[in-house]
Symmetry: C2
Subunit: 481 residues, 2 copies
C-alpha cells in the first residue's frame, strides 16, 4: 500500500465501494460502463478502468465477459447476532488468564490466527514508515540522548489535533497527552475517574483488554446491552445510570470490538447529552474511527460534548504503524490529573517516534491511505463472511460491520466456543472464544474472528475448517450425552 | 563521549581517579611521574601523558611547572548532612503539585537548571545512538508495522540479562519485562504487591517521583531514616517491619536520589536476609548502579535474594540514551502478575527502540563509556562541592556521593528552601526544594542540586549565586522579625 497514491481512480473506486457497502448498489447489479462513468466524472476511460480493477481486486465487482461489470454477489448472508442482554448488575472481572493464553497463541509462529485484532504489516506503508523513523533519528538525534519531559512532542500534538478534526473534534494541541498506546491512555483515564470497587459501564460484549484493565484496577464491570449494528442501547444505559452507581462509561462508539457496531449519529448526540445530565465521564476509544466506511459514524461522541466529560483516546496502531506504539488522549476536564498521572506512571514517550508519527500524519496521501486500507480489509471481511455462511453450523449468526477486520459469530448455543478453541488449536488455528469478552459467561457460544492478519489460501481453508469443527461440535452436543 | 574509546589510557585514568576519590591518593599529594607510571604499567609514556591529560580535564589532578603532577586540592569540604529522622508513622502523600511546578521550570528554556536529575545530551554517544536507531529501523523495518506482543524483544532481554551480571545478578532473559522507563516498572511493581491504603517503606528523603506514584495509587509512605553515605538504616527498617504493616520496601540502594547514598556490601546482604525473614518484597531501583565509582556498591541487593522477593527495576536513561525510554524489570515471584499488568496497562514497547538498545548494549566499549561518564560527572560534582563550600551559608552541609551527579545540601535550618527556590526563580535559576522529597516537611531547609545538565561558566556562576541568595535568606531569618 502506498499512501501517496491519492489519485482520482482511488476516489472513484472508494465512492463506488461506499455505494456497494451501503446497499445503494445492490449485489449482482450491473454497474455503469467504463465509458458512461468516464463521462459522468469527467475523467479519462483509463482512470475508470483503473478504478474498476481496484474494485475487482477487492472482490467488490466482477467483470462478466461481453456483459460488462457487476457488483459481486454478496456472500450468502447469515442473520446478525441478537442484541446482547447482560445481567443488570455489575461484576468483578476475571478474564485475564484466558485472554493471555489466547493472545500468546494468536501470535505464535506456525499458527493460522484469527485470534488477534491486529492488522498485518503488509497492510501498511512500511517503507514510508521506515523512512519517517530514520529521518526523525537523523533530524532529531539530540532527542535520543535527552530526557523527554512533558505531555509529548508539540509537533505531534498539533498533528493529532488536526487529525481529530476528521472526527468532528476541535481539540487544543495543548490538551493532548501522548501515551504508550491507546491502552495506556484508557488505563490512565480509568485511574483518573475511579477508585477500586467502583462500577464502570461498558458495551457487552466488550474488548477483553478493557476487562483486564478493570480487573487489574479492582473495578466492577457493568455490561450494557449492545446491538451488533448500532451499538450501545441508550435505553439500557439510561436505566443503568438511574439505578447503579456508575462512575464512568468506557465505550468504542465506532467499530466496537468485538461486535463491530457503530452508533448512529443521532445516538452519539443523545449519548453526550445523557452523560451531561448525569455528570458521568465517557472514556471514548476512537482507535477504529478511521477504518469506518461511513462518514457520519466516524464522528466522535466527543464532538457533541460541551461539558468536558468525554475523555477521547486514540492511536495509530490500526491505521498507520502498529509498531510505533503511539497513543493519545484529551481528557477534557481531567486534563491536569491525566498529565500528572502519565508523568508519574511512566514518564514521557520517545520523542524520535513521536516526530516520526507527526511526519507520517502530516504527509499528503494519508486520507488515500485510509481509503485503501478500508477497501482492502472490507473485501476480506466480505470474503470471510462468505466462508462463514458456507461452512459454519446452521443457525450461526455473523456481524456485518461498517468497516474494520473483526467478525463476531454467534454459534448455535449447543457449541461451547472454548471447546471449539481447543479443537482449533489441535489444528494450529487460533480463534478468540466469546468468554474473553465479558465478565459473564453469556457469550460462551460466540467467537471473535479477526481477519486483519495474513490473508491467503491457507487462511481461507483454515476459516472453513473452523466452521467444520464447529459443525462437528454442534452435532456432538445436540445428541444426548 | 565516545564509548568505543576503551583504550589503555582511559583505564589508567580511571584507576587513578578511583584512588583519588577513595582517598588512597590524598588531595594535594604528588603523583608518580609520567616515566615512573609508564614503567609501572608497562605502557608507553605517551599513554600516561594522555591519561594525565584526561585527569587534568576532569580537574582531578593539576600540573605544577617544574614540580610534576599533583592531586588537585580537594574542594574545601563541608560536613555531610546528618542521617534523616523521619516520623515513625506512615503518611499519605501530597507532593505532586510542587514537583510538577519544579520539573516544568527545571526544563524551561532560559533557566539555568539544577532542578532536574537529568544528564545532558552531550554526556552521551549521540552519533552512536543515532546509528543504532537508524540501523534498527532499516533491519527491523517490519517491526514498525507489526503489533508487538509480549514482554519485549528477545535480543534486548538477553542483553539486559548479560548487563545485570555487572550487578552480580544472574537473571533469566525470559523473566525480564521491558517497560516504558524505569518509572513504569516501579509503578507496575507497586501495583502488583499493594492495594490502596497499604504502607510502603522508602528512604528518607526519597525521589519525589516515588512519592508521586504512591500518591496516585493511594498508598501511604513510611519513611525510613537514611544515612547520607551508607543509605537505609537497617535498624530503623527492622523496627518498622516489626511494628508497622509494611507491604513493600521501595529503595535505591546505589546512589539513592537525592542523598546519593550507597549501601555497603554487607548491608545489602543483611537487607536481603531481613526481607526474607519477613516475606516483604523489595522494589530495587538499579537506575544509577553503573554510575557508582565503587565496584562493590554496584552490586544489587537482588544478587543476595534467594526467595524471589526482590523486584529489580532498571533503565538506561542515565547511562546510555535517555531518549529511548527503555526500562526493565525482573519481578521475581511476581513475574506472571507483572507480565499481565504490563500487557493490560500499556501493551508492549516499540520493537525498533528495543532493538536499538540491544545493539548499543552489546557493542564493545560500553564499559569504557560508563567509566568516562563517571569520570566526567565526578569532576563536575567535585567542582560543584567546591563552589558550595565557598558560597553557601556557614553551617551548610553537603553530600559526597560515590558517583552520579546529584548533591543534597542541608542549609542552616533558618532557611526555607521554598523561599530560596522562589528567590532563584527570579534570577532564572531552578533548584529542587527539599520538601519535594518527603511526605513530611522535615527537609524544608534542604535542596537537591543536579549538576548533570549543561556545565560551564554560566552554571558555575549560577551555583555561586544560589549560595549567595541562601546567605541572604539565612541572615533575614536569623534577625527577629
Amino acid at each position: 500500500m502506498n499512501m501517496a497514491a491519492d489519485t482520482l481512480y482511488l476516489r472513484i473506486a472508494e465512492s463506488m465501494a461506499g455505494q456497494i457497502r451501503s446497499g445503494t448498489l445492490s449485489r449482482g447489479e450491473r454497474i455503469p460502463s467504463v465509458r458512461t462513468l468516464a463521462v459522468q466524472h469527467g475523467v479519462s476511460q483509463s482512470t475508470v478502468v483503473q478504478a474498476y480493477r481496484t474494485l475487482e481486486d477487492a472482490r467488490l465487482i466482477e467483470a462478466r465477459p461481453r456483459s460488462g461489470y457487476f457488483v459481486a454477489s454478496r456472500p450468502a448472508s447469515l442473520p446478525e447476532p441478537n442484541p446482547s442482554a447482560p445481567p443488570a448488575d455489575s461484576l468483578p472481572v476475571g478474564v485475564s488468564e484466558l485472554a493471555a493464553r489466547v493472545m500468546s497463541l494468536a501470535n505464535a509462529p506456525g499458527y493460522t490466527s484469527f485470534g488477534a485484532a491486529c492488522p498485518s504489516a503488509d497492510l501498511f506503508a512500511q517503507e514510508r514508515v521506515r523512512r519517517a523513523v530514520s529521518r526523525a533519528a537523523q533530524r532529531h538525534r539530540l532527542s535520543l540522548c535527552q530526557y523527554p519531559i512533558g505531555p509529548g512532542d508539540e509537533s505531534l500534538r498539533k498533528a493529532i489535533a488536526r487529525h481529530a478534526l476528521r472526527m468532528g473534534c476541535h481539540l487544543d494541541a495543548r490538551d493532548i497527552i501522548v501515551t504508550n498506546s491507546c491502552l495506556e491512555a484508557i488505563t490512565l483515564c480509568l485511574r483518573a475517574v475511579t477508585r477500586p470497587g467502583d462500577v464502570v459501564a461498558l458495551e457487552s460484549p466488550t474488548y477483553f483488554g478493557f476487562l483486564e484493565i478493570l480487573e487489574s484496577l479492582g473495578l466492577r464491570a457493568l455490561e450494557i446491552p449492545t446491538h451488533p449494528r448500532t451499538g450501545l442501547s441508550l435505553e439500557a444505559l439510561q436505566l443503568a445510570l438511574d439505578t447503579q452507581p456508575v462512575k464512568a462509561l468506557l465505550a468504542v462508539p465506532t467499530l466496537s470490538n468485538p461486535l463491530g457496531s457503530s452508533m448512529p449519529l443521532a445516538e452519539r448526540r443523545r449519548l453526550a447529552q445523557m452523560l451531561a445530565r448525569h455528570g458521568i465521564p465517557l472514556i471514548e476509544d476512537v482507535l477504529y474511527n478511521d477504518l469506518c466506511e461511513e462518514d457520519d459514524k466516524r464522528r466522535a461522541v466527543r464532538s457533541f460534548d460541551t461539558d468536558g466529560l468525554v475523555m477521547v483516546c486514540g492511536s495509530f496502531s490500526k491505521t498507520i504503524a502498529p509498531g510505533l506504539r503511539i497513543g493519545w488522549v484529551d481528557a477534557g476536564r481531567w486534563g491536569d490529573k491525566l498529565r500528572r498521572l502519565k508523568a508519574s506512571t511512566s514518564g514521557s514517550q520517545a520523542v524520535v517516534l513521536e516526530r516520526a508519527m507527526a511526519d507520517l500524519l502530516t504527509q499528503p496521501g494519508i486520507e488515500a491511505g485510509y481509503r485503501h486500507l478500508r477497501s482492502v480489509v472490507g473485501a476480506r471481511v466480505d470474503e470471510a463472511r462468505g466462508l462463514i455462511s458456507e461452512h459454519f453450523p446452521k443457525g450461526s449468526r455473523v456481524t456485518d460491520p461498517a468497516g474494520g477486520f473483526i467478525l463476531w459469530v454467534e454459534l448455535p448455543d449447543t457449541v461451547d466456543s472454548l471447546d471449539l478453541f481447543n479443537a482449533c488449536l489441535k489444528e494450529r488455528i487460533c480463534i478468540a472464544p466469546g468468554r474473553m469478552f465479558s465478565a459473564t459467561d453469556r457469550f460462551r457460544h460466540c467467537v471473535r474472528l479477526g481477519v486483519g492478519g495474513r490473508w491467503g489460501e491457507a487462511e481461507r481453508q483454515a476459516l472453513a475448517r473452523v466452521g467444520q469443527l464447529a459443525v462437528g461440535l454442534s452435532r456432538t452436543r445436540t445428541s444426548p450425552a
